[in-house]
Every structure is written in C-alpha cells, then in structure tokens.
C-alpha cells in the first residue's frame, strides 16, 4: 500500500460528530414536523449564503482531517514497507506545490523577489546588496520587471474564466435538476431563480457560490507560480498556512462546545429545576471555578500535559500525534473552564420556566422529573444554547489565538490562526512592515466567524415557533384558522359516545 491511514484523536471525534449529524439528519427526514422549521432556515437568504461559505470551510476542514502517512521508497531489512514519519492530510496532497515551495524568508504577496535585501558576492569579487529572486515565486518569468504585471493579469483573467465556467456548469446542473423535479422547462427554472420566486433563495446561494468559485479560480491560477498571500519568516506560503489553520479553528470551536455542552446543560438545568441543596452545590462549583483565572488553569494543565508527553515519548509515533493530543487536551480544558457562563444562563432561564403553568400542569399529571426536563425545559432553552454555542465558537477561535500567544496554546509545530498571529505580531514593528500574515489570518477568521454568526441567526429565527406567527401569520391567518367554532353545538351528547 502506498500509504497507511492515521486516525488522530481529534479526527476520531470529528468523525463521531459527522456521524451524529448524519444520524440526526436521517432521523429528521422521517419526521415532517421536525423538518418544517429547518425548511424555514432554507428560506433565509442571508442564512443560506452564510451556509454556502461555511460549507466551503467545512470541506477544507474535513479534507484536512483525513490523515495518512505516505510510504517511503526504500523498504526495511524484512522487506516491509516503511512509512514516513510525517503525517499528511488529503488537503496537504491537494496543496502540494504550496506546501513544498518554501522560500528563504519573507516575501510580499505575488512578489518575485524577497522582501529584504541580501548581500551577494559577485564573481568579480565585489559585493552588492539587492533583493534576491525567489526560488519559486515568479520563477517562470525571465524578466520579472517587464512581464510581472501582465502575467498576473492574464492569470487573474484565466482564473475568473475558470471560476465562471464552473459556476455556469453548477448553475445549469441545478436548474436541470429543478426542471426535472418540477416538470417545467429549463428556461422557466432559470427565470424563476433570478426573479427570486423560488422557495429556497437560490439566487443568493448562486451569487455566493459565484464569488467563492471565482476567488478559488483566481487563487488556483496564481498559486501555481506565485505566493498569493506572500510567505512568512521561514518562507512558508501564507495561503497554505491559512488553509491549514481552518481545521484547528473548527476543531477548537466545535469540540470544545461539544465537551462543554453536557456540563452546562445538565448542571444548569438541574440547578434551576431542583433548587435547594443541588442548586447550592452547583452554584458554588461554578462560582469557584469562575474565580480561578482560566489562563492559569489552562497553562497549568497544558504544562502538565507537556511533561507527560515528553516523559512518555514512546506512546507517540509522530510529531503530529503529540501535537494532536495537546490540541485535544486544550479543547477539554477550554471546555471545562467555559461552561460556567452558559450554565448560569440556563439556570436562570430554568428558574423562570419551572414556574410556568405548563410545567405545573405536567406536575399535576405526575410526569417524571426526567421527562419534564427533557420534554418541557430542554426544548425551551435550546435557543439560548444555540446562541451561546455560536458566540462561544467565535470566542474560542479567538481564545486559541490568545493562548498561543502566551505559549500555552496549540503545539508550536501545529499551524493555527493563533500561531500565525503570534508570529506576525513581532513583525508589525519592523520597517517596512510585514502585514500579510496578520491580514490573512484576520481575513479568514473574520469570514469564518461572520458566516457562522449569520447562519446561527437564521437557525434561531426559524427554530422559534413563535417567530413564525409574527412574520407569516397575518397573511395566512384566515387560511390557518378553521371555520369559526361554534361553542355549544359540537359537544357530542352522551348517546353518541358509544358509537
């Protein structure tokens, strides 16, 4: 076999998450009333645009999650294949030229020369200081000064063309599919998309998709011969670093929330619902936990983990595994320190809900505590959970950057937005300034967090059954309300009962 698959801890958890999501979706498909609110998500233009962007990020993240070790060319003495110690992902494979085209040091975006002057010894013994040509960036040009701009323009044009071509193909496929489903003519479908008469806002999705595809087209055209976003201190391509960081950001955002949620949900609702000593114990726990500076706690845990990793080096075959365990540990400790906020919110909301009359009605039926919590309280606090989760997602992505700066974040060998920002920080002071690393990290994080927030907004609006009345009710009130109900007439007389 030319490679051996590697499943890191975080990979396994991501696969688990994907599996759970698929089960959830599969279950939803069977239940029309559960599906209905999610259909409403599909009607929100901003939500669907945000989802399109998110899907792009998620695809990149998932590609980066499929890890393997390539086989080396020589075999060991027993004739067995030896695998490289370097763990690669499918994304690495796709981005191979970017990953391997490493320059000497900083170079500006799309540059053909290094960013700093170097001293060269000329054959005649003189020395000159000049900007050296890059080893890969623009190396195909013979006269960079003359050809540089026109080459870039040509490639951009090609990229736009390529992007549009793909976009048109996708657009056509979509409309063909629609035409087949609705038994309408193809042109009619195209018209309905652009006149915004379709139920799902395809026009918004297609515009977003168009922007993404054109951007990807341009990047792929340029990236083959240039460093589109420049290179960092050790000459690594910043575009490659940014794409690799997406996985870490997604993992920190989702896994931490996954770890935090059970604590927050269980303890928060239990405290609010049962009151009394249970409430006291839980309150004291989170007040105490909250009063410990969380950076201190995280630093202590990460350092302990590091010591453990170093003393048990035999457990970890590759550097990637060590870095991964540290990432997982970071997620866990972030989860443990960040549940208190949501827990407090949920306790407050539950305190309010438990006095609601429908909960009292459930008590009057002798419904068990567990069922009251799961059927009455949990669905009614879900909107808080959803909002808090997304807020936390953005917060955690940012927290990772801060922690990496303090030196207790992810492993230095792991590429993340935090390490990128941390590296860029030092260069902000130098003249001329190296701005592209920071800007790339900022741009990618911004788009990721913004689209997550927009999507969560749409989901929240759609999931709250009361919101629907405010928007749709007036139009459909007459349709929905059945014929006026006569109060007296419809009660069957006792004689009819046995029939």
């Amino acid at each position: 076999m030319p490679f051996t698959p590697v499943v890191l801890w975080t990979d396994a958890l991501v696969f688990l998450l994907v599996f759970l999501m698929s089960v959830f979706i599969w279950y939803m498909r069977g239940n029309e009333h559960l599906l209905a609110p999610w259909r409403r998500v599909g009607h929100s233009a901003s939500g669907m645009s945000a989802l399109t962007v998110l899907i792009f990020f998620i695809i990149v993240g998932l590609l980066d999650t499929l890890h393997f070790r390539p086989a080396l060319e020589h075999k060991n003495s027993h004739g067995e294949t030896i695998y490289s110690v370097e763990v690669l992902s499918v994304l690495d494979l796709l981005l191979t030229p970017l990953r391997t085209n490493v320059e000497k040091t900083y170079s500006a975006p799309l540059a053909t020369h290094l960013y700093a002057k170097e001293t060269f010894n000329l054959p005649d013994g003189n020395q000159i200081r000049t900007f050296a040509r890059l080893e890969y960036g623009g190396s195909h040009l013979t006269d960079p000064d003359a050809e540089h701009q026109s080459d870039i323009n040509l490639r951009i044009a090609k990229g736009i063309g390529l992007g549009l071509l793909f976009w048109i193909i996708l657009h056509a496929l979509l409309c063909l599919n629609m035409a087949r489903r609705t038994q309408q003519r193809f042109t009619l479908c195209v018209q309905s998309v652009w006149r915004r008469t379709t139920e799902i806002p395809w026009h918004a999705i297609l515009i977003t998709l168009g922007v993404i595809l054109v951007a990807v087209g341009i990047l792929s055209m340029l990236a083959a011969h240039y460093h589109v976003l420049g290179t960092d201190k050790v000459g690594q391509d910043v575009l490659y670093l940014s794409l690799k960081s997406i996985r870490v950001a997604l993992i920190i955002g989702t896994l931490t929330t996954l770890i935090m949620l059970p604590f927050a949900l269980l303890l928060g609702i239990a405290a609010g619902y049962f009151r009394g000593w249970i409430d006291d114990v839980i309150q004291y726990t989170y007040t105490t936990l909250n009063s410990i500076p969380s950076v201190l706690l995280i630093a202590a845990t990460i350092l302990m983990m590091q010591v453990y990793i170093e003393t048990h080096a035999e457990y970890f075959e590759t550097i990637a595994e060590r870095a991964d365990v540290r990432l997982l540990c970071l997620c866990i400790i972030l989860g443990i320190t960040s549940w208190t906020g949501l827990c407090r919110l949920l306790r407050g909301e539950t305190l309010k809900l438990r006095e609601m009359e429908y909960i009292q009605a459930a008590h009057a039926f002798g419904v068990s505590h567990w069922r009251i919590i799961s059927r009455h309280i949990l669905p009614n606090v879900m909107h808080i959970v959803l909002i808090a989760t997304v807020m936390d997602f953005s917060g955690l992505v940012l927290a990772e950057a801060v922690l990496s700066y303090v030196g207790v974040g992810v492993d230095p060998s792991m590429i993340s937005f935090g390490t990128m920002i941390n590296a860029a920080r030092l260069e902000m002071a130098r003249e001329p300034m190296v701005w592209w690393t920071l800007l790339s990290a900022f741009g990618f994080m911004f788009i990721l967090v913004l689209s997550a927030n927009l999507f969560a907004d749409a989901v929240q609006k759609a999931l709250d059954p009361r919101v629907k009345t405010r928007t749709l009710n007036n139009a459909s009130a007459q349709k929905n309300n059945p014929a006026p109900i006569p109060a007296s007439a419809s009660i069957p007389s006792p004689a009819n009962k046995s029939i």
């Binding site: 609601m356 009605a361 002798g366 419904v367 405010r470 007036n474 109900i485 009962k497």
Partner: protein, 692 residues
C-alpha cells in the same frame, strides 16, 4: 357644550407581515369638554391604536394614512413633532393598563412627576415639590409627603395606578386617555380608582376618553359610548339610550353573553367565531359573519349610519328605512336548554374534603438564610366539594386562592392540614403513590398563553397526561377499537375525541399552540385536563384573560362538561358574575382564610360578612347609575407576612368594633349551609335567638 376633540375619518394601519393591518379604519368621533367618552370593544378591534393615534405615539410599524384629529380646532396630525411634545402631557395625557410597567422602577414617584412638570411649566424646585404633594394628595395617596420620595416597588397596585393618574394630571390636561385603567386591578381597588377618576373629572372639568372592554365599568363611568368593532365604530349613543336599547346586533349579543344569575340554568348566548382579521378588505358589514340577523345585503354592502334618535346612531342594515318595523330589541334567546336537572337534592358524600389547610412560606434573611418569618398564604382553610358540584372560591388577588388550588393538588406542599379525596389523605403521600390519584384531580390554569408548552404540538400536549398516568379518557372506549395508523401516537383517536369534545376540529392536533386564539387555547387546556378522566377540575380563573364573548363560550363548555361527565369544579375567581352563573356554593376568602361560605343564593342575596358585602357592591353593574349605595373599602389588602391582629379585615372594615382587633372570630352559623367569621354576626346571631 363645546367640542374638545374631533376625529374625522381616521385611518391607521400597521405594517406587520405581508399585508397591512387596518387597525383603525375610518373612525370619526367627537368628545365634548368635561365629558367621559367610552370606547368599548373586544381585544384586537383597534381601541388602543385609536388612543395611540391621538397621541401620535404609534409603534414604528404604524402609520396614519388619512383623517384629521382636531384638538381645540388645531389638527394634531399637521403639527411638527416638537409642537406635539407640548401637547402630550399638557393637553392630552394618558394612563395605561399595567401600572407595574408604566412607572420607571429606578426613579422615585416624585422624580417621575417632576419630569412632567419641568417639561411643561417653569417651576423652581420648592414650587415643583409643592405641586407634586398637592397632586398626590388629590389622588388620595395617604401620607403623601413621605411617600412621594418612595420608589414604585414600595407602592401597591392600586397606589401605583393612583400615582400614574397623578402623573397624568400634572400637566393639567384637557383630555385624559385612560386605556383599560382598571383591568389589572381588583374589584375593590377598581371601585376606588373609578371613584377617584370621577371625582377628579368633576374638579378639573376634564374630558376622559375611557377605553375598556368592561360593560360594567362603562355603565358606571361614561356619559357617551361608542362601540368599536373590527377597526370601526358601529354604534354611538349616550349612556342611557345605549343601556336601555342597544341597537347594533353586536352590542346586543355582548349583553347576552354576560353571565349572571338569571341565566343560571341556560346556556349563555355566544357570539360565534372571532373578530375577523383586519388585513382583509371588507366589502359588507364587518359583523355579518357572526350576526344572528345577517341578511344577504349585509355581506356585500357596507352599512351607513342610521339615526335612531338625534343622539343615537348605529351602523346596521336592520335600521334601513324599510326594515325599522322589525323588532330588533329581541335578544336571541340562546338555546335555553335547562342545564342542570337538579333532580336529586340529597346530601351526597363529599368528593374532596379539605380541613385546616395551611401553606406558609418561610422568609429567609441574612447570610445563613435564617427563617425570620412566615408568609401565611393559606392559613387554615376548610372546604368540601360534592361530586358533580361547583364550589367557587372568591377573593381578591393575593388572598391565597390560587395557593389553595395548587396545594390541594400537592403542587405546593401544605404546611399543615389535610386534603382528603374519597377518604384518602393526600398530604404527605409519596410521589409514587400519589400518581394514580393524579388522574382524578386536574388543574386548568389562568393564562392560556403560558399554560401550553410553545414547542409541543397539540397532540403531544394532550398525550402527555395519558402517557404519564397510563390513563385514557373513559368516554373514548367505544371509538378506540381500531388501532390507529401512526403507531407513534397510540392515543390518536382519543385525542380526536377530546378535541371534538371541547369543540375543536380534529386537524388542530398537528398544530402548535401559538396558532390558536386565547379561547381556543383555553379549550385545549381543558381538553388536556380531561384526557386523564378526572372527577374534579380545579379551574384557576380560566376566563379572566379572555374577552366577554369568548368567556361565554368557555363557561358554556364547562357547564356542559359538568352535565355530561359529572365533573366537580373548584372554581377560583374574582369575577362575581361568573360565580352567580356557574357556582352551587361560594367560599369567600380574605388574607388566607375563608370568611364566609354558603350556597350561592344565600351568599349573593344575603351576604353576612362586611367584606363580602363590600366585594359584591364594588362590582360594577350595568344599570347601576349612582354610586351612593356602594360600600367603599379603604386601603389595600395587608401583607400576609404580618396579618393584622384579631380579625384580618378590621383595618378596612366599616363596622369594626374593639373586639375585632383582639380575637379572630369563630364561625357563626347563619343557616344550615351558610357560615361566616365575624364578631358582628356571632353576637347578633345569638341575640336574635334570645329575641325570638
């Protein structure tokens, strides 16, 4: 009399949703100086939007399309916003329904009134303080000098409403708009506030635009009445004419749907359906779909004004010249089925017996949460309910009647006393053993908006009880024969029958609660309670959040359920007319104790306890014109944390004697079924014995 406010053809729409809501659609009215003009109508017919249009304080989605509002011959709609600020508070001021929400909790009362004064008058500080004091004295706030510097939370509900009125009066307005000023208040407090408003109107010669849904309040307060329906005025008349001969079928039907004693054995007339959606364009009469007299013409041509007398006009086709001969004052005699057969009058075994029930809530204070006192919400209540009978528990808010209901069901753990259902003691029973009994006793809550889980469909709501108690309504046994198609809902047919029973279509089960109106939600809540086949329903003010016509529907439903299923009700309410209509027996509660108990007729016609007398006389009644025979109570209910010594009622009692301050009176029997706790009676009763 000169005209103060004249509204001509006002149209206000609200841009919510896809279609605009025509909240006010071509409304015209005139209010004279110093007169009380009542705008009467059910919720959702545009009363409040009219008021807000006059103040030009519509929400952002609101828009005044056309019309004019002339105050002292100046069109308010043409004024710039800065000039309008001089009008608000100075010429027109407004008091709102909910005194809790319309006072700023972080400002003292004096500061809030001073805000109005500094806006409209140039007063220096001492002069302003002087004026505030004067205003608070005028609205009857005792010890105003000290209390003016207190915060709203230190005021009781009635006091807050008085403070609101003082604030509204601060600008010496010519017109006071009162939007349901007493709806959130108890009857005795309501009587005080209405008295105050009348008094102030006489002193200041101020006009009042009173917005209300309560026919009783209108009858006591108004000089001129306009009935509003679906965004327009359908009838306009002086009070006397209106209450003698209501002309519009809507007004007639409103009167017919009021519960009272005379209609006891009849079903109440109901106005079928609900106020139509205001998004549609009406072609005919707006009431035609619900009208008993609807003619073909009503559905396609909108009726014009018809003058019955020079001052009494109505918008109805019945009064077209040709048809004036029809006897339109005939109120449709609603299917007068003699409801309760009242055949067997033997003393039945009590279904539920409550004796000496006490619920005390401890007051915790300090770091270690020491118990420093007890709130005696319920302090020794005894009552019994026979199978198939209705006991009404009457009292003002805060007297502990809801707590009684909940502690009977063990939703609140009683401190002492016993609750026996069929001779089985419920107090102190473990959760597991209590469970089978839960199906026998059920609860219907006051607020239909918070008693249904907004995230569950109706079928899930109705099934919850059946699943938890493993019970199914008995009356579905016949129809339960075939197994339903969807095995997820084993009780689907039972749910269908239940919905049918409370008068809702079967399809309703797939919807969420928010898709229903208040009355329909209350039906669902009743169906939920019926699902487990109870013998006793505890109804906690089930109609107080509903409109009069919807209230009639619910009362009819409750009554027919009692006849068909033999249910017993513990009916908790503050509404005396509902009690007269529905109850067999009454227990009057004051500050955690029952002060009077007896058969409905006895208690209503010969109330023994001074509190009962005051309560009954405070109820605004139609046709009662003068306020002379009313017993006005001073002050508010005291706090149950520190009830007065002796008889709890003595600080407010007009007939208090020295002995009342020392000992709580024992029960004195007025007749075999009528007892009361009052020193007045125990003595008089005994002396009566001596005399006879």
């Amino acid at each position: 009399m000169s005209v103060l406010l004249e509204i001509d053809n006002l149209r206000t729409i609200l841009h919510t949703g896809k279609l605009p809501v025509r909240a006010v659609d071509g409304l015209s009215l005139k209010i004279n100086r110093g007169e009380t003009f009542a705008l009467l109508g059910e919720s959702g017919c545009g009363k409040s939007m009219t008021a807000l249009s006059i103040m030009r304080l519509l929400p952002d989605v609101g828009e005044i399309l056309s019309g004019s509002i002339n105050l002292n011959n100046a069109d308010l709609l043409q004024l710039p916003e800065s000039a309008m600020r001089q009008v608000r508070g100075k010429q027109i001021s407004m008091i709102f329904q909910e005194p809790m929400l319309s006072l700023n909790p972080v400002m003292t009362i004096a500061e809030q009134i001073a805000e109005v004064l500094t806006q409209h008058f140039r007063l220096n500080k001492p002069a302003a303080q002087e004026r505030i004091l004067q205003l608070l004295d005028q609205v009857g706030i005792p010890d105003a000098k000290r209390r003016m510097h207190e915060y709203p939370f230190q005021f009781s509900g009635g006091m807050k409403q008085r403070a609101m009125i003082a604030m509204a009066l601060a600008g010496e307005p010519e017109l006071l708009i009162a939007d349901e000023p007493t709806t959130a208040l108890d009857v005795t407090i309501q009587a005080q506030v209405l008295d105050l408003m009348r008094e102030i109107q006489r002193q200041n010669h101020m006009a009042i635009l009173l917005i209300t849904h309560d026919l009783g309040v209108v009858s006591e307060m108004a000089q001129h009445i306009a009935v509003m329906y679906a965004g327009e005025i359908v009838e306009q008349s002086p009070r006397m004419h209106f209450f003698e001969r209501p002309a519009h079928p809507y007004a007639q039907q409103l009167f017919a749907s009021l519960p009272d004693k005379q209609k006891r054995n009849h079903e109440l007339a109901v106005i079928s359906g609900a106020v139509p959606s205001l998004t549609q364009a009406f072609s005919g009469c707006r009431f035609s779909d619900r009208c008993h007299y609807a003619m073909p013409r009503c559905h396609d041509t909108a009726p014009q004004w018809h003058h019955i007398s020079p001052v009494h006009k109505v918008r109805c086709h019945l009064y077209d010249l040709s048809s004036t001969l029809i006897d339109i004052t005939r109120i449709p005699e609603a299917t007068s089925v003699p409801a309760s057969p009242d055949a067997q009058e033997q003393k039945p075994e009590p279904l539920l017996q409550v004796s000496g029930l006490k619920v005390h809530f401890p007051i915790h204070k300090g770091f270690f949460k020491r118990i420093v006192g007890q709130i005696k919400a319920v302090d020794g209540v005894s009552l019994h309910i026979a199978a198939g009978k209705t006991l009404a528990l009457v009292g003002e808010s805060g007297c502990g009647k809801t707590t009684v209901g909940k502690s009977i069901l063990q939703l609140i753990q009683p401190t002492a006393g016993s609750v026996r259902y069929h001779q089985q003691e419920l107090v102190g029973m473990e959760r597991q053993r209590l469970r089978p009994l839960r199906s026998q006793l059920q609860f219907v809550f006051q607020d239909p908006y918070s008693s249904l889980n907004p995230r569950m469909r109706i079928i899930e709501i109705l099934q919850e009880g059946m699943d938890a108690l493993n019970a199914a309504p008995e009356f579905t046994v016949g129809t339960l024969a075939q197994p339903s198609a969807a095995p997820i809902f084993p009780h689907e047919t039972a749910v269908d029958t239940l919905l049918q029973y409370v008068g809702l279509p079967k399809e309703a089960k797939w919807r969420y609660p928010h898709e229903f109106s208040g009355g329909q939600r209350q039906r669902i809540a009743i169906a939920r309670a019926l699902a487990v086949n109870p013998k006793l329903l505890i109804c906690d003010e089930p109609t107080s959040a509903l409109d009069v016509s919807v209230q009639a529907q619910i009362l009819n439903l409750l009554k027919s359920l009692q006849n068909n299923l033999g249910l017993a009700y513990l009916f908790i309410t503050h509404n005396i007319s509902v009690v007269e209509y529905l109850a067999d027996e009454i227990a009057v509660m004051y500050l955690g104790r029952i002060v009077e108990q007896g058969l409905t007729d006895e208690v209503i016609s010969k109330p023994g306890h001074p509190y009962t007398q005051a309560l009954l006389s405070a109820v605004p009644q139609i046709g009662k014109t003068s306020a002379t025979d009313m017993i006005r109570l001073k002050g508010d209910i005291p706090s149950p944390a520190s009830p007065p010594t002796g008889c709890h009622f003595h600080p407010r009692c007009p007939m208090a004697m020295p002995v009342c301050r020392q000992t709580y009176p024992e029960a004195s029997t007025l007749s075999a079924t009528h007892i009361t706790h009052c020193h007045l009676y125990s003595q008089e009763h005994r002396s009566n014995h001596h005399e006879h």
